[in-house]
């Protein structure tokens, strides 16, 4: 690891005043909470902050369900959220996504805020032996474009970056219209989770809309997303403890055997958690036994771009959507 000063502030306002920033490799200071991703990045010299600011004990870790919906404190661990009675009962999509993530040891420590801010698993980003990575070193190029890009994105890509956002949780949350409460020295603001991450465009080193000195304080899910028929389908290279090749989060509002409203998001295929409104609109009104889901799922491929090895994802993601919709629809 590059040497850093470790700050352990007494309270959140002191931590925010230190101006650390998530998701930027040129930030001189970064926050650390559970640390399960940050320590990997430090060990591999991918992140070399001069100052590391601990958020341990400073952020809310409560899990609350009320009339407004679900509120997950940023410091709530993946393990606790995954088995929380109200999450399992009313927002099972979240629980399912979490239990399909990482390993039990990581889930015991990793937090909600850290999970949605985890960095890409792109091997070229994670290995500083490769000089070319626009996300790690702006304007250095992209080794994945003509490299081994089986794992890379086909949606939301640019000529600068095709790195996948790796979170399962964020895919489930974006399907449920989650919002992110952000705390900064100047106060609190709320943004839709769908707007937290930036598209790479020409600036893939700018990953989120978080400003220096801002942290995620909580993630909220509106009550309207409770009690839906849902399924999180994760397709991966081994049965457990692996990131998604393709994942599909589906939540359906069903009445009289017909889909009134569908929420669909994809993981493993896009540069950020990827909601697909055109697929949702096409599914709306379809009978659960219509057998027409494939035509709706095909719309997910609009704008999809293969870089070679990842061509198979364009077909696989459509099949994943169909399977997830069928499975969700069959739930009681």
């Amino acid at each position: 690891m590059h040497p850093f000063a470790l700050e352990r502030p007494r309270d959140l306002s002191a931590a925010l005043a230190l101006g650390a920033q998530a998701g930027r490799n040129d930030a001189v200071a970064e926050y650390i909470a559970g640390g399960t991703d940050m320590v990997q990045l430090l060990q591999e010299y991918v992140r070399r902050p001069d100052r590391l600011v601990s958020l341990a004990g400073l952020l809310d870790d409560a899990i609350d369900v009320g009339p407004q919906g679900l509120r997950l404190g940023a410091a709530a661990t993946m393990a606790k959220v995954a088995v929380h009675q109200d999450v399992v009962g009313q927002f099972p999509l979240i629980s399912q996504a979490l239990l399909n993530s990482a390993s039990p040891q990581v889930r015991n420590v990793a937090t909600m805020g850290g999970n949605v801010l985890q960095r890409t698993r792109c091997p070229y980003f994670r290995d500083v032996g490769y000089e070319a990575c626009n996300k790690r070193a702006p304007s250095s190029g992209c080794a994945a474009m003509d490299g081994e890009n089986r794992w890379h994105a086909v949606l939301g890509t640019s000529d600068s970056c095709i790195a996948v956002h790796p979170s399962d949780l964020a895919v489930a949350l974006v399907a449920l219209d989650a919002e992110v409460e952000i705390s900064g020295a100047g106060g609190t603001r709320t943004v839709p989770l769908a707007d937290l991450h930036r598209l790479p465009g020409a600036t893939p080193h700018l990953e989120t809309v978080l400003e220096p000195g801002e942290v995620i304080a909580a993630i909220t899910v509106p009550a309207g997303a409770a009690g839906l028929r849902s399924h999180y389908l994760k397709v991966r290279d081994r049965a457990s403890f692996e990131f998604a090749v393709v994942s599909a989060a589906v939540a359906l509002d069903v009445a009289d055997g017909r889909i009134r409203q569908a929420r669909v998001a994809l993981g493993g295929v896009a540069t950020k958690p990827w909601r697909i409104p055109n697929v949702e609109q096409a599914l709306s009104g379809m009978s659960l036994d219509s057998g027409e889901f494939r035509s709706a799922a095909a719309l997910a491929a609009d704008g999809a771009q293969s870089r070679g090895h990842n061509e198979f994802k364009i077909e696989l993601m459509q099949r994943a959507i169909v399977r997830a919709v069928e499975t969700a629809g069959a739930r009681a």
């Binding site: 690891m1 590059h2 040497p3 850093f4 000063a5 470790l6 352990r8 001189v28 650390i32 640390g35 399960t36 320590v39 990997q40 430090l42 060990q43 591999e44 001069d50 100052r51 590391l52 601990s54 341990a56 393990a79 990482a102 390993s103 039990p104 040891q105 990581v106 015991n108 420590v109 049965a239 457990s240 403890f241």
Partner: protein, 210 residues
């Protein structure tokens, strides 16, 4: 930061030499680097790279006071500073589970924790599992079931297995495999590991009267 990048003491730029000089002057004049300079880079150099921090760790029921480089992981603190070498370093990146310990009773990967951020937590390592000469039932089960070949992953497997049993994730071999997926065994002793966990889980539930 600057000095660590040039461990031989050679190759300093003029600016780096000036910064180092400023650190020295600051210490001389103010007695406090933060007070003596307005340059965050210089202050961080002094506080981060040069100054170890005091860390108190509670391990297997004993409190240890250590002075550590802030970069020290919990695993390295256990192995290199407390000579508790039962916890193993496999990948150092959270992928193999050989470093698994219990933190406040929950299994974690000690290679992914900074030691300084484990203060105030009760750490249990493989060395803290036996009661004197009396092995933990899962340790005994690993021996009886031959749950290892080379043994390198075994301490992590056992610590993870103890937690897996406590969590109640031992209902079937499939459930055990899923909840033990954070521990890799390159010898491929998985069948025997699953059997050992089933044995120990059965003992655990019978002693609870369930």
């Amino acid at each position: 930061m600057v000095i660590n990048e040039h461990p031989t003491g050679e190759g300093f730029t003029r600016r780096e030499v000036l910064e180092i000089a400023a650190v020295g002057t600051g210490a001389l004049i103010g007695g406090s680097l933060m007070a003596a300079t307005d340059s965050p880079a210089v202050a961080q150099t002094a506080a981060g790279a040069l100054a170890p921090i005091d860390v108190s760790l509670q391990v297997n029921g004993t409190e240890h006071r250590l002075s550590l480089d802030p970069r020290t992981t919990l695993l390295d603190a256990l192995r290199e500073h407390l000579q508790l070498t039962g916890s193993k370093k496999g990948c150092g990146l959270g992928q193999c589970g050989a470093c698994t310990v219990l933190m406040d009773g929950m299994r974690v990967k000690s290679c992914l924790s900074l030691a300084a951020l484990a203060e105030g937590r009760e750490i249990t390592t493989i060395e803290g599992l036996a009661q004197g000469e009396q092995l933990h039932p899962l340790q005994t089960a690993f021996i009886e079931r031959d749950g290892f070949q080379c043994g390198y992953c075994t301490p992590g497997q056992i610590m993870s297995g103890v937690a897996c049993i406590a969590e109640g994730h031992t209902g079937s071999p499939g459930e055990i495999r899923e909840w033990m997926s954070g521990n890799l065994c390159r010898c491929g002793a998985y069948d025997h590991i699953v059997a050992a966990i089933q044995d120990a889980a059965a003992i655990s539930s019978s002693t609870r009267g369930g």
